[in-house]
């Protein structure tokens, strides 16, 4: 598995390793994308000053937390692994199912090594460190809880994509780009505090589209809670993950029975 991970990482870095203009363009483009992803959130944090109970420093920590979690999710979710609906909708899941590997392993290997996104990941970690310089607590238990929360938030990003991607098993053409929509929603909504949100929005963002559980809720608990409450989001992520696995397996059974009609008889996508 280690060799496969190394190969996958190397493939991801191919434009940079090959060098030349293409590598530079790629890195520059990644830098632009990464900066443009964080500018709206940082602008909001600095320009607004305060949003309800959230101070500027709290908002900065929230932004850093979310970016780090999403960056971590992208490390294992490169290519279309995080956008699983595209793989399913295009019938490309067959490529993974044909391999002599468990499905989860082939997906991890295929998606691993998004070090070509290292610029955005470093920016996220940088934001997090910046925020931590204001809000961090000295207790080791708090730091442990922080790491657990970040890892679980990354897992929740992946689980959300896979939960919504399961729809593609049943409606391959209609839901092929569903993960594009959910990914955009998560990236935009997870950096927002929940202050002032109407109950319906809170309900949506803490359940079927858990953007708040990826950002605002764990960040809020890290800032203000103690003891077991620091693990509220990890518990939610665990439950959400289990539900996602159950539903995804149901979808796989359906896929095994009916497949996807996106391939023509001579192997090309319709």
């Amino acid at each position: 598995m280690l060799d496969m991970l190394k190969t996958s990482m190397r493939l991801g870095l191919e434009p940079i390793i090959d060098g030349g203009g293409r590598g530079l363009v790629w890195m520059f483009g990644e830098l632009v994308l990464a900066v443009s992803a964080i500018v709206p959130s940082l602008a909001m944090a600095f320009a607004l000053g305060r949003v309800g109970d959230w101070t500027r420093q709290d908002l900065l920590f929230l932004v850093g937390f979310v970016l780090t979690a999403r960056g971590l999710a992208q490390v294992v979710g490169g290519g279309n692994i995080l956008m699983i609906s595209r793989k399913i909708g295009r019938g490309q899941l067959d490529h993974n199912l044909l391999q002599p590997l468990p499905l989860w392993k082939s997906l991890v290997v295929e998606g691993f090594g998004s070090l070509d996104l290292i610029v955005s990941q470093l920016l996220g970690v940088g934001c997090l460190c910046w925020g931590l310089s204001y809000v961090a607590r000295p207790e080791p238990a708090w730091w442990f809880a922080l790491i657990v929360n970040i890892v679980c938030a990354a897992g929740l990003v992946i689980a959300t994509q896979y939960l919504w991607g399961t729809l593609t098993f049943y409606a391959p053409q209609s839901a092929e780009e569903i993960n594009t929509i959910t990914d955009g929603a998560i990236s935009q909504l997870s950096v927002l505090p929940l202050n002032g949100a109407i109950p319906f929005v809170r309900a949506v963002l803490t359940s079927i589209l858990p953007a708040a559980m990826i950002g605002a809720v764990p960040a809020s608990y890290m800032l203000h809670a103690y003891g077991w409450r620091l693990y509220t989001m990890p518990l939610f992520a665990l439950a959400f993950g289990i539900i996602t696995i159950v539903i995804f397996r149901q979808g796989l059974r359906h896929y095994g029975k009916y497949s996807v009609s996106r391939y023509s008889s001579f192997g090309h996508r319709r």
């Binding site: 443009s36 709206p40 909001m44 607004l48 780009e177 909504l189 002032g196 949100a197």
Partner: protein, 270 residues
């Protein structure tokens, strides 16, 4: 341009009626939403509404004093107009994959085709999501606009859409020269334009000196200027003048580039 499936929005024959203007028929056919896309469209509209409600909740809590009403109104209009603020026609894709060769055989100007196709594609989702967002804004935040400002706003919006379409054409014709990375270039473009056109970060939250500079760049004419004209209490001829200048500048760039690109495509065979 034949779509299988039931016409969601209004009945129309699949054949173009004798004497029917080509622009209207292209627009009408583009507005058809096949049953296979209903779910994706519905999900996209739902996410847009949730995004507005969450953002408005945040802006309404922000420590900006009297500016809150302006920010919420600005956000409501920006989200309601969403699809119109960053026009993306099919020209880029058609140039990249060679479909433009087929389009060139049709008895219709390519500019008219791409504009009417884009408009048909966005007009109905825009109307649905726009109406729902404006309703939510009115109900939750007692939002309203001064009716007297609507004519100026419509003129400004039209100019903004023209600038957006011209920019899309210029970008498509330039970026097609970059082999194999058009999706990457488009991702960068969408990110940057979303920031600089003011639809994500209202310029009013930025320092005054920045606002003055940002107003002059072309992307502000696509979103910030029209929305500001509608929701702010002042009126500025200079805003319309800025938009007119950019329409002229982009036209002067677009026309020779269009001729050169089409000559190249005709010679090289698509």
């Amino acid at each position: 341009m034949l779509y299988d499936g039931f016409c969601l929005y209004w009945r129309a024959d699949s054949k173009v009626a004798e004497g029917e203007p080509k622009v209207w028929s292209t627009l009408r056919l583009s507005a058809y939403v096949p049953r296979s896309e209903w779910f994706a469209q519905a999900m996209s509209i739902f996410v847009r509404i949730i995004t507005f409600l969450a953002l408005a909740g945040v802006w309404a809590q922000a420590d900006t004093g009297d500016g809150r009403a302006y920010l919420v109104s600005y956000m409501a209009i920006a989200q309601a107009l969403g699809f119109l603020l960053q026009p993306t026609t099919a020209m880029g894709d058609d140039l990249a994959n060679g479909t433009v060769a087929t389009r060139m055989l049709w008895p219709m100007s390519l500019v008219k085709y791409y504009v009417s196709q884009w408009l048909g594609h966005v007009i109905v989702p825009s109307l649905i999501s726009g109406c729902l967002i404006l309703m939510a804004w009115h109900i939750a935040w007692s939002g309203s606009v001064q009716m007297g400002r609507i004519p100026v706003f419509l003129v400004s919006l039209l100019l903004g859409v023209i600038i957006g379409i011209e920019f899309d054409f210029i970008f498509s014709m330039l970026i097609v020269r970059v082999e194999n990375e058009t999706w990457f270039a488009n991702a960068i473009r969408w990110s940057l334009v979303a920031i600089f056109n003011g639809s994500v970060i209202p310029f009013v939250i930025l320092p005054e000196s920045w606002q003055g500079v940002l107003r002059w760049q072309p992307f502000a004419s696509m979103a910030n200027i029209p929305i500001d004209l509608l929701v702010s209490s002042g009126f500025s001829l200079s805003s319309l003048a800025i938009q007119l200048i950019w329409v002229v500048v982009f036209t002067l760039v677009c026309v020779p580039l269009y001729r050169a690109t089409w000559k190249r495509i005709t010679v090289l065979g698509g």
